[in-house]
């Protein structure tokens, strides 16, 4: 009997705790606190752009759970980040709506409006987390089945021993930035990060001063020096990360291929041998491969007469998709993107002398959310105000 009483007491205390949590998450005070913190976050993030640049600020302040203060031990969370505030606001909205929800036709418009806001917030969070923006640069005649994100670098280790396919092991540069040893089942060796540079410049030893040392023992790095430089902050600049890595075979007794410098500035892969295979090593912009390809036939660039001001630019390309038996001409121009397989190709830019076109490739699985949210909110407001308006007219008609 006592045991039943203890169990009952535990259940009631858990229930009371859940109720308290529910009270907190459904309170209007939490909404006010979150909105206030959001204002502070936006203000601080705007100021931080002076020193850190817009892309760094986006990641540190808005696309994170916390804003971290850098410290020797790795960092201290000092403020809630955009993702945390967005998630709490979303939960708060859902909780408040669920708590106060009473089904009546009279409040149908308000329910609909709130549902639209929930879709908008959830869609924003979903887009922020899962959308991918990259670019595809194509010279006339060139074919590509991948796009690249020049702001996200990756170290690729390529096993080219197969006659048909290359096996690519892609390690994000952010993983290299954490240092330590990196291993993977696809690699017969471990990669030891000796030094990582968030933004590096490479110079031939002959030009780097008398005290400069080779960056690595092997490859291009043995003939160049590498220097850390301040992070890029201008909108049209980007960091060029680099790393000095050691290759350590897993099987004992095998000779070590030494240390290598990897950097986007080297421009082409370096090769080394390990476990009886030749491996290619390259730091490059992250690639997103697609099951289809685009071939640029022609790039057209019209200017306003007598000026160099662009009037219109368009890419005439061929879309080839073996899986879907697609092989057709496509035109991508300003305000006329190509939408295919969940990706949208926008005409983004071109290179000097029109030698290549640059397409922005956007994969956004939540792209419909804002449209749906606007329609739902609009319908809700229309219904609510319509009801009030009809009621007003009715009262006016029946009043003496």
């Amino acid at each position: 009997m006592d045991r039943h009483g203890a169990v009952g007491g535990t259940i009631s205390s858990v229930t009371a705790m859940l109720h308290r949590i529910f009270d907190v998450f459904s309170s209007l005070k939490l909404t006010i606190v979150c909105l206030s913190l959001t204002i502070v976050l936006v203000f601080a993030g705007t100021l931080a752009q002076v020193d850190s640049g817009i892309h760094e600020v986006q990641q540190r302040y808005f696309q994170s759970l916390f804003v971290w203060w850098p410290s020797a031990s790795g960092g201290i969370p000092v403020f809630p980040g955009g993702h945390l505030l967005g998630a709490v606001l979303l939960a708060n909205l859902i909780a408040a709506h669920a708590r106060r929800f009473r089904w009546t036709w009279k409040k149908f418009g308000i329910h609909l409006t709130h549902a639209g806001l929930i879709i908008l917030l959830a869609g924003g969070l979903f887009t922020d987390l899962f959308s991918v923006e990259s670019s595809m640069r194509l010279a006339p005649g060139e074919t590509k089945n991948y796009s690249e994100d020049s702001r996200v670098m990756e170290l690729v280790v390529i096993d080219g021993s197969d006659s048909e396919l290359d096996q690519v092991t892609a390690i994000p540069a952010s993983r290299l930035g954490k240092g330590g040893t990196i291993g993977h089942a696809s690699l017969p060796f471990r990669i030891v990060v000796r030094k990582f540079y968030r933004n590096a410049r490479v110079q031939p030893l002959g030009q780097a001063g008398p005290e400069a040392l080779p960056a690595s023992t092997e490859g291009v790095g043995s003939r160049v020096a590498v220097f850390e430089v301040p992070r890029a902050t201008a909108p049209n600049e980007r960091d060029l990360p680099g790393a000095v890595i050691g290759i350590e075979p897993i099987s004992g007794g095998a000779p070590s291929p030494g240390t290598w410098l990897v950097s986007d500035q080297l421009g082409a892969p370096q090769t080394f041998s390990c476990a009886g295979k030749t491996w290619r090593l390259e730091m490059r912009p992250a690639r997103y491969y697609k099951p289809y390809s685009l071939t640029l036939r022609k790039f057209a660039h019209e200017r306003y007469a007598g000026t160099e001001i662009p009037k219109n630019f368009a890419s005439h390309a061929v879309l080839t998709d073996p899986e879907r038996n697609e092989n057709r001409d496509v035109l991508i121009s300003m305000n006329n993107p190509l939408r295919y397989r969940g990706e949208t190709f926008f005409q983004s830019g071109f290179e000097k002398n029109d030698t290549a076109t640059i397409l922005q490739v956007v994969h956004n699985p939540g792209f419909l959310a804002p449209y749906v949210a606007c329609v739902v909110v609009g319908a809700g407001l229309l219904f609510q105000f319509g009801c009030h308006f009809v009621g007003f007219l009715h009262r006016r008609g029946t009043s003496p």
Binding site: I21, F22, F25, S26, L65, L84, V88, L90, A91, A95, A98, F101, L125, L129, G141, E142, Y146, S150, R151, I158, G160, S163, E164, L165, D166, V168, T169, I171, P172, R175, I182, H184, R201, V202, P204, G206, V220, A232, A234, N236, E237, L240, S263, L266, G267, A268, P269, Q270, T271, G276, T278, R280, E282, Y289, G349, E351, K352, N353, T355, A356
Partner: protein, 214 residues
């Protein structure tokens, strides 16, 4: 009723908290892709470094400048897309899947000098480095509109390499006020041998198309 709503909302809260944390930015990915037609992996030219070293590189800056040279390649060379440093790029195919990749790469400044670059090519073929004296004995010189080109013919198959696509490099270097030009043909040894005369003839025809900006 409110108890059920509490559960529902706490569940939704957990989902909201979980979603932002479920994206692993440090995930290592492994995938298989078709081999590029050209031997993109075989030529980490010394200082085939993107952008001007020592200066910030604009994300919007051209990745591949327009070709600033002209020349008369043989008809059997298939033109390939230009990349960031390649002013000219060709692929030539032989029998039994043999291929050779031909490129013209340009760099600012002396780009390391002749000996360092020849030794780098030798290391790509798994061969030991040579001295300046040995280079003097093995090099020949070809006159071109860009200046006198130092041409070397190197042979060797690196460990694990495919003999149909590798085994020999014929390359030329010429430095001048406009920078350093690297002519290179690398591929199947027999195919490179058969194309060597055409390659050297092509070197003799390459000239600047206008003001050069390496």
């Amino acid at each position: 009723m409110i108890f059920h709503r509490t559960h529902l909302c706490l569940g939704l809260l957990c989902v909201c908290a979980w979603i932002p944390g479920c994206k692993d930015k440090d995930e290592i990915k492994v995938y298989r892709v078709s081999k590029p037609e050209t031997q993109q992996g075989d030529a980490p030219e010394n200082g085939e470094m993107r952008g001007q070293m020592g200066f910030p590189m604009s994300a919007d800056a051209p990745v591949a400048p327009p070709s600033q040279v002209t020349g008369n390649p043989p008809q059997n060379w298939e033109a390939q897309p230009l990349s960031s440093m390649r002013q000219a790029s060709y692929l030539v195919k032989g029998d039994n899947g043999a291929i050779a990749d031909i490129s013209l790469v340009t760099l600012a400044g002396p780009a390391g000098g002749d000996l360092d670059n020849v030794n780098r090519w030798l290391s790509q073929l798994g061969r030991p480095a040579i001295t300046g004296e040995q280079l003097g004995q093995m090099a020949r010189h070809v006159t071109s509109p860009l200046g006198e080109v130092t041409v070397v013919d190197l042979e060797g198959l690196p460990q694990g390499a495919d003999a149909a696509k590798d085994g020999r490099i014929v390359a030329g270097i010429v430095s001048g006020d406009s920078g350093t030009f690297f002519f290179k043909m690398r591929g199947n040894a027999a195919l490179v041998e058969s194309q060597k005369a055409a390659f050297i003839q092509w070197i003799g025809t390459v000239r600047l198309a206008g003001p050069f900006h390496p």
